[in-house]
Amino acid sequence: MAEDFVIEMLHITKEFPGIKANDDITLQLRRGEIHALLGENGAGKSTLMSVLFGLYQPEKGVIKKDGKEVRIKDPNDANRLGIGMVHQHFKLVECFTVLDNIILGVEETRFGFLRKDEARKKVVALSEKYGLRVDPDALVEDISVGMQQRVEILKMLYRDNDILIFDEPTAVLTPQEIDELMEIMRGFKAEGKSILFITHKLNEIMAVADRCTVLRKGRCMGTVDIASTTKEELSRMMVGRDVSFAVEKKPAQPGEPILEVENLVVPSKVHKNDAVKGVSFQARAGEILCIAGIEGNGQSELVYGITGLEKVTGGHIRLCGQDITDAPIRERSKAGMSHIPEDRHKHGLVLDYTLGQNMILQRYWQPQFQNHGFIRKAEVEQYAEKLIRQYDVRSGQGVDTIARSMSGGNQQKAIIAREIDKEPQLLVAVQPTRGLDVGAIEYIHKQLVAERDAGRAVLLISLELDEVMNLSDRILVMYEGEIVGEFDPAKTTVQELGLYMAGGKKQGEAKA
C-alpha cells in the first residue's frame, strides 16, 4: 500500500538573499523511475537538486532515503547514500585527464601511491557496458562538451551511485548525443536506478520520463504522470498560460548585404588542419540566416573568425561595406556587430561582476555610461533595470546580484538582452536559446524576428533543427569546414538537411 519511494524531499524551503528559491517543495522519487523536473528559469530546480546533493542546507524540510530521515551535509554524504549529480555547468578539472577526473576523490592507493590500473579497468568496463565513449587519457580541456558530460556520468557510475541527478544534461548536447543519452538513461532505469532529470525540452520529458514535477517561482505546482498528460498541459502548468511553439513571422524582405564573408580560413585549435576551409556567404539586412551543422564541423571557429575572437589566416570579412578582417573586437562592435556567444561562462559574463556591471560589458566606454572615464553609476543602474524588466531577467537582488549566483537561464537572458539592445547591424547568435524555458524561448524568438523586421541581419548558429526550421529565412549547411548546401526552409525537410549535415551529399557535386 505505501509506495516505494527511494528519495523523499518533504517541505523543502531554501532562501537566498532577496529570494525564496524553494518554498515548501515536496518531491518524491520512486525506485526505478525517471522523474522529470520542469520549471521556468530561476524556478529553483538546480537549487532543489543542490539541496539533495548536499551543496546547500535547506532552512526547512526533511529528506528521507528509503523512508528514513537523513541529513546530507555535503556531497560526500550524498555520495555515501548513493546520490550522484551531473551539474548544469560541469565541474571537471580542465588540466586533468579523463581518468584522473573520474577517480578524483575516491582514488585507491597502495603505500600512498595511486593504483590507476584497476581504476582504468573499471572505467573502461563501465564505458563499454553503457556505451559511454570516452578516451581515458585525453585532457578534459581538449574534449568536446558531449564527452565531458559522459565523463560526469561515468563519475557517478564509478562511485556506484544509484540515484542519478541530471541537471539540464541535454542543453549542451547535439541532437544525436541527446538520443544517445536518452537510451543510456533508459538503460539505467532498466537496471533499477532512479533518475531525476531536469530539462526545458518537453519532447524529451514526453519521451523518457515516467512522472514530472513542475515548479513555478520556487513553489511546487504538482506532480503528473507523463502517460496522461500533454506538452501543452505541462507548459501551461509551468508558465501559467498557453505557449506557442511555432514562430509567427512574415516572409523576409532581404535588403543590402550586411555581412560579406569571402573565402574565410580559420585554423583549428584542436587539430592541425583548418577548421574553416574557405567559406563564402552573405548575410543580408532583414533576414535570419542560419548555419546548421553537426557540432564540430567548423561553426564555432567560423563565429570566432567573424567576431574576432580568433585570428583568421585567409579571406575577407566585410561589415556594412567596411573591411573588418583584421579589425580588433572593439572596432567590430563599433561597426555594428553584436555577439551572443556559445559559452556564457567563458565569454559571455564576468561571473564575479554584478548583473548591472555585466549589462554594460560591451558599452561601458560609451558616453552614455561614462563621463571623463568615470562610470556613471546611476545611468548604469537605470539602464540595467530597464533591460532586466524588459527581458524578465530574474534574480535575488536585481542589478546588484552577482552574476555567478543567478540561474543558468537567467544568465543567458541577461546576455541576450545586452546584445540585442545594442541595436546592432549584425547579430551573431550562437545557440541563443540554450538553457531557456519555453516561455523565454518564445520571447527570444519574437525578439530575433523583430530584429530582422527592423532591417538587421541575424546570423544564427544552432544545432537544433527545430529552431533552424522555425526561425530561419535561409539555411546554410556546414560540413567539415565547408558550406555544402543552401536551403529555403519552406522547401526543404529535416531529413534532407540531415543528409547534408552528415556529409552524405554536397550541392555542387549533386548538380555536376
Partner: protein
C-alpha cells in the same frame, strides 16, 4: 526590492574585516608561543613590548606612521596588480629602482623633494614595465620575470651607486663609502618636509608628510578601481580574461599599464622611505625586504586599497614593537616572530571561508529553532 539591506552574514566586506582580525589574533598567539619557547622568562615582557611600544610614546607612534608609509605603497602595488590578475612579486626591485632614481635626483642633481618623488615613481614604473611587456607580448609568467628583475635591479643599483662617487657618503664629509650620502649634508631640500606633524607627535624625529601622501594615493587607487572605466577594464581582465577579450578590452595594453602603475607605486614607496632623511641606502647583497612585505600587506587587506592603509599600519606597528624587544631577544629572533605574525595574518583568505561557514551554521541553527 531596490536597495534592500543585505543580512549581516552576506556582507562580504564585514566578513573580510573579521577574517583579517581573526588571523591577526591567531598570528599574535603563535608569536607569543614562539617567544615562550625561545626565552620563557622574558616572554611576557617581550610581548608587552611588541604590543605596547607603538603607542607607548608619541615618538614611537610617529615611527609607526613613518614606516607604514612605504609599506602602504608596496601593499598598494601588489594589491593593484592582483586586482588585475597579476602577481607582482617584483615590488622589491621596483622599490629599489625608485629609491635609486630618487637618490640620484636628490644627491647628484640636487633637485627638490617633490621632483625626487616623481623620479622615484618613474624609476619604479620603468622596472614594472619589463615583466608587463614580457607577459603581454610573449606570455611569460610575470612571477618569473619579476623575481629575476628583483635581482637585476638590486645589483644594477649597487653597481651604479658604487661607481658614482658623488652619490656616496664619502663625498659629503663622512668616512664610509658603502652607502649613499646623508641628505642632511648632501641636499636638505630633498628631505620630505615634516609639515608641522613633528610638533603634533612630540617632536618625533621620524614623522613627515609621507603618510599623508600615501593615504591620498591609496584613496586615488581605490577611486580608480571602483569608479572608472579603466578600473572596470582592469578588474574584468583579472576576473575573466576570455570575457574581457570578448568585450573588446585590450588585455595586452592593460597588463602593461597595470604593471607600470604597480611599479610606480612601489617606486614611490622607495622614494618616500629614503627621502625621509633618516636612513641611507647601504650597498648590500640582499633584496630589500620592504617590497616583499607588500605581499602580506596586500593579502591582509584582500587587495582593497583602503584596507591596505590599515594593514600597513598594523604591520608597521608590530615591527616597531619588535624592535623594542631587544636585548632580551636577538634581532634575528624578533624578525622570526614578526614574520610568523605577518605571514599568519596573511591567512585572512582562509579565515574568510571559516567565518562565512560559521555564519551559515548559526543561521541554520536559528532556523531550526523556529
Amino acid at each position: 526590492m531596490k536597495k534592500s539591506r543585505k543580512p549581516l552574514s552576506q556582507n562580504a566586506a564585514l566578513i573580510g574585516v573579521l577574517a583579517s582580525l581573526l588571523s591577526i589574533v591567531i598570528g599574535l598567539l603563535l608569536g607569543y608561543l614562539l617567544l615562550v619557547i625561545l626565552n620563557p622568562g622574558a616572554s611576557a615582557k617581550g610581548m608587552a613590548a611588541m604590543l605596547g611600544t607603538g603607542i607607548a610614546s608619541l615618538d614611537k607612534f610617529g615611527k609607526v606612521l613613518y614606516q607604514a608609509a612605504p609599506l602602504m605603497m608596496c601593499g598598494l602595488s601588489v594589491g593593484f596588480a592582483f586586482k588585475t590578475g597579476l602577481f607582482n612579486i617584483g615590488a622589491p626591485g621596483q622599490y629599489t629602482m625608485g629609491t635609486f632614481f630618487a637618490l640620484v635626483c636628490a644627491i647628484q642633481f640636487q633637485l627638490p623633494w617633490y621632483l625626487c618623488l616623481l623620479a622615484a615613481m618613474i624609476g619604479g614604473a620603468v622596472w614594472g614595465i619589463f615583466p608587463g611587456l614580457f607577459k603581454a607580448l610573449f606570455n611569460v609568467n610575470e612571477v618569473i620575470t619579476s623575481i629575476m628583475f628583483n635581482w637585476i635591479g638590486m645589483y644594477l643599483v649597487n653597481l651604479l651607486i658604487a661607481n658614482m662617487p658623488t652619490m656616496l657618503a664619502s663625498a659629503w664629509g663622512a668616512s664610509n663609502s658603502d652607502r649613499t650620502a646623508a641628505l642632511s649634508s648632501a641636499n636638505p631640500g630633498a628631505i620630505i618636509p615634516k609639515g608641522g606633524l613633528d610638533k603634533l607627535f612630540g617632536n618625533s624625529s621620524w614623522i613627515n608628510i609621507s603618510v599623508l601622501i600615501t593615504i591620498v594615493v591609496a584613496i586615488v587607487i581605490w577611486v580608480v578601481l571602483q569608479k572608472t572605466t579603466f578600473g572596470y577594464e582592469l578588474k574584468a581582465c583579472g576576473l575573466n580574461k576570455d570575457a574581457s577579450q570578448y568585450a573588446g578590452i585590450n588585455a595586452k595594453r592593460n597588463i602593461i599599464l597595470s604593471m607600470v602603475i604597480a611599479g610606480a607605486l612601489s617606486g614611490l614607496g622607495g622614494g618616500i622611505y629614503y627621502l625621509a632623511g633618516t636612513v641611507q641606502y647601504v650597498i648590500e647583497k640582499s633584496v630589500l625586504a620592504m617590497g616583499f612585505n607588500g605581499i602580506p600587506v596586500a593579502l591582509l587587506a584582500n587587495s582593497n586599497p583602503i584596507g591596505v592603509i590599515f594593514s600597513a599600519l598594523f604591520i608597521s606597528y608590530i615591527q616597531v614593537g619588535g624592535a623594542a624587544m631587544q636585548p632580551e631577544y636577538s634581532p634575528e629572533t624578533t624578525d622570526i616572530v614578526i614574520a610568523v605574525i605577518i605571514y599568519l595574518a596573511a591567512f585572512a583568505l582562509l579565515m574568510r571561508g571559516v567565518i562565512s561557514k560559521a555564519f551559515a551554521n548559526r543561521k541554520q541553527k536559528e532556523a531550526a529553532k523556529k
